[in-house]
């Protein structure tokens, strides 16, 4: 293995993306809306198509705006259907995103009559190529520091998410746990819901345009779920999940370039391995966490049965 500056910048981009996703992800997990990231990443297709048809180019700003708007609409439609139709939220989400995706597919088939717009190449960025597209370069002595475009975008998104979470921590927390109480306290829980959905949509779109959708979906759910296994306090859960997300990004890229060499292959997809690394961290927490871990409970149980007085264990 030879680690180059390219690898470092891939890990930095991955970690920025992972942490940016994990922050709103905590609230999604608490609100039982974990599948939102997946839904949005499928549903933005018509937004991309419409932006493409109207702007006539693949300029990333128009694409971003179109996708982000449809992403927010996904959340709005889901909310409407589940509220007015009294439908389970998961089902509402599923209906909305499959319909929007189908709509997008139709639009793209139309657009493809004139130009080449394949869903694959619009939808998925690839983290491996992010260092090649840089926005700025600084010379520090004899060393050139390139800032990849993806790092700049994701850095901004991360700061935005951090600002929202810090500013509205109290409001987001109370409306996640007890919407009715938050309403009686004068906090508009609907507004908080849509604020959260907006930052989820913006994060999802920005991130999957830069680095690919699978990292986004995984990092919205898995690090917060891992953190939730380890703590009961939201104030700990958020930094913990950010730490797990960053760790998953590093371990993911490391294993992407090392693990396949053990079997005689060159390397594999970094984004896939980042998702896998996050999953492995989850597995460790699931098995070994000090209070609720599967194996912890098993051993405690064994100890208990050995320690119990013989009069109880007899017969």
């Amino acid at each position: 293995m030879n680690w180059t500056s390219l690898d470092t910048s891939i890990v930095i981009v991955g970690a920025l993306c992972a942490v940016a996703c994990a922050l709103p992800g905590c609230f999604l997990v608490l609100r039982r809306m974990s599948m939102m990231g997946d839904a949005i990443s499928h549903a933005v297709l018509p937004g991309l198509a419409v932006a493409f048809i109207f702007s006539g180019s693949r300029s990333s700003f128009a694409m971003f705006a179109g996708a982000a708007i449809v992403g927010i609409l996904t959340a709005v439609f889901t909310q409407w259907i589940s509220k007015f139709g009294q439908v389970d939220r998961g089902a509402a989400m599923g209906i909305v995103f499959t319909t929007l995706f189908a709509l997008g597919l139709l639009l793209i088939v139309q657009a493809a009559n004139h130009v080449d717009l394949h869903p694959d190449c619009v939808l998925y960025g690839a983290i491996e190529f992010t260092p090649l597209d840089s926005v700025a370069a600084f010379d520090i002595g004899n060393f050139t520091l390139n800032i990849p475009r993806a790092a700049a975008v994701l850095g901004i998104v991360l700061l935005l998410n951090l600002a929202v979470v810090l500013l509205f921590f109290k409001e987001l927390r109370i409306s996640a746990f007890d919407p009715e109480l938050s309403t009686t306290l004068g906090i508009n829980s609907n507004l908080m819901h849509y604020l959260l959905m907006t930052i989820v949509a913006v994060t999802t779109v920005a991130a999957f345009e830069a680095v690919g959708s699978i990292i986004v979906i995984a990092m919205l759910i898995v690090p917060p779920a891992t953190a939730l296994l380890l703590t009961q306090r939201l104030a700990f859960m958020i930094p913990l999940s950010a730490a797990f997300a960053a760790a998953a990004a590093f371990l993911g890229h490391l294993s992407a370039i090392t693990v396949p060499t053990w079997f005689g292959f060159e390397s594999t997809s970094t984004s896939g391995m980042m998702a896998l690394a996050a999953g492995l961290l989850f597995a460790v927490a699931w098995l070994f966490n000090p209070t609720q871990g599967l194996l912890t409970k098993h051993f405690r149980h064994q100890n208990l049965s050995q320690e119990s007085p013989p009069s109880h264990s007899a017969r």
Partner: protein, 494 residues
């Protein structure tokens, strides 16, 4: 009486429906525009050909999607009731590593790696593993279904992406086409695909119909099922196994998005039409089959349109229509029912208030209460109405012929209004007396409790009340109130 809770939501609901309708109409316009711009609208003969399934290729596609729609409609109903609609999403992503592993294994064994049964077997294995992992996470941690499904979806799909990354660099193996496995290829189905789909859907449909009772129990009361001695975990696994079979077969035939939609949309649409599970199963299967048939037929007529997308949109349109118009739980019928009830409640409150004011005026005992004009100001202070509310109530009463013309600032009941007022007041008092006698409610509290129920008293219940209260109270046309009415207003009436 507090106003019905979702009174204020309804305008929002209507605007929501407006936007959703707009969305669907956009789709239709696109379809229309497309067929128009290319001026290849299907001729009647073509239409008939598709309708009668004359073309071999069309026949295979239409029949396959219809069968899949029926089966996933059935299975999806149970998923919806278990609040697990999105399991299809998780499952279909979880099949990717299985496809990758199967490919690697088959290449290592010296094959081309693209044998369909092998890939399907791999997909089924990891799909099942994903489902089992969802169940395990749900049952051993405090995490809920949605997190477990999201976890399985993203991690399994990540593994799959990583495996595909390796496969693409494998020497001597062409991995092209593996990706398209995930997206399906509805229009290019062959006889072999149809046979596979027909046999799997027949088997899964049979299984779910045989296990309807068990699955129903599981859906509605898992704890009770366990206490009754049913193997709930086993049944759960069986149910998800059936879902896996449907998903894998559908994934290959019609694609990821369509199979997810098939598992969710028909069942959710059927929920609006009935409160009975048996009917819901039938309606859901019907909607699934209809959208499969209709969508595939449309796409056969207008070959530029991808079948999968059209089927999803047809199902979504049926869903939207059901959500708005279905009589049992649709938004509009529910709105009208609530509006009706609100009108009835308002009318009865108004009439009773007028009657109570008439009653409080001096009049000879043992004679009916005289029908005199009532001051509006008196009426308004009798219940806490706002002037606007009261004006609206009076307008409605006017329309219903309950009021006679009277000078400004006064109102006067008409003949029918007076009768209705006396009857309403009588029902109210009967119910109050019943509550005091038989439900042990203090006289000072009884008014509000009676308020809640009296609006739904029908003639049959009133007769029952009269029988229960078999004494002099009911011999008078309107019994006296068992408690003080608005003591600040007038002299006590009891």
């Amino acid at each position: 009486m507090p106003p019905p809770r979702n009174q204020s939501k309804i305008p929002h609901a209507l605007s929501a429906i407006g936007v959703l309708l707009l969305l669907v109409s956009t789709t239709t316009t696109i379809e229309a525009a497309q067929s128009h711009s290319q001026s290849n609208l299907p001729s009647p003969t073509e239409f008939l050909q598709v309708l009668t399934l004359e073309n071999h290729n069309t026949r295979i596609v239409v029949l396959s999607t219809t069968l899949l729609g029926i089966t996933s409609g059935l299975v999806g109903t149970f998923l919806l009731l278990r609040r697990r609609s999105l399991i299809g999403d998780a499952l279909s992503h979880a099949t990717l590593p299985g496809i990758g592993i199967a490919f690697i294994v088959m290449v290592a064994a010296g094959g081309s790696g693209k044998s369909l049964p092998g890939l399907l077997a791999g997909a089924t294995v990891t799909g099942l593993a994903g489902v089992l992992l969802v169940l395990t996470i749900r049952n051993t941690t405090k995490l809920k279904d949605d997190v477990a499904m999201g976890f399985v979806l993203s991690v399994f799909f990540g593994i799959g992406v990583a495996l595909l990354g390796i496969i693409q660099k494998m020497p001597g193996a062409s991995a092209a086409g593996l990706q398209s496995f995930i997206y399906g290829k509805t229009a290019s189905m062959i006889q072999q695909d149809f046979v596979l789909i027909a046999s799997i859907t027949a088997a899964t449909t049979l299984f779910s119909l045989l296990l309807v009772k068990e699955f129903t129990l599981l859906c509605f009361d898992e704890g009770f099922a366990a206490a009754e001695g049913w193997p709930t975990l086993f049944l759960d696994i069986l149910m998800l196994g059936i879902v896996t079979a449907v998903t894998v077969i559908g994934l290959q035939a019609v694609g990821l998005i369509l199979i997810i939609a098939f598992l969710i949309t028909p069942a959710t649409a059927a929920r609006f039409w009935t409160q009975n599970l048996k009917y819901m199963l039938a309606i859901s299967a019907l909607i699934g089959g209809a959208s499969g048939w209709l969508g595939a037929s449309i796409s056969a007529l207008l070959p530029k349109l991808p079948a999968g997308a059209i089927i999803v949109l047809v199902a979504a349109t049926i869903f939207l229509i059901s959500m708005i118009f279905a009589p049992a739980r649709g938004v509009l019928p529910r709105y009208f029912r609530q509006a009706n009830l609100r009108r009835k409640v308002g009318r009865q409150h108004l009439l009773r208030a007028i009657y109570e004011i008439l009653e409080s005026k001096p009049h000879p005992l043992n004679k009916p209460v005289p029908n005199l004009p009532v001051l509006l100001a008196n009426l308004q202070s009798h219940r806490s109405w706002s002037p606007k509310e009261l004006r609206k109530l009076l307008r409605t009463a006017q329309k219903e012929d309950h009021l006679d013309p009277a000078p400004d600032g006064e109102i006067r009941l008409s003949e029918s209004g007076y009768g209705e007022a006396a009857r309403t007041t009588r029902n109210h008092r009967l119910w109050e007396l019943y509550l005091i006698r038989h439900a042990d409610i203090a006289p000072s509290h009884v008014d509000r409790d009676a308020d809640m129920v009296e609006h739904v008293l029908d003639a049959h219940i009133v007769r029952q009340l009269e029988a229960e209260l078999d004494n002099h109270h009911v011999t008078t046309p309107v019994p006296p109130s068992p408690h003080q009415i608005t003591p600040s207003q007038s002299s006590p009436t009891t």
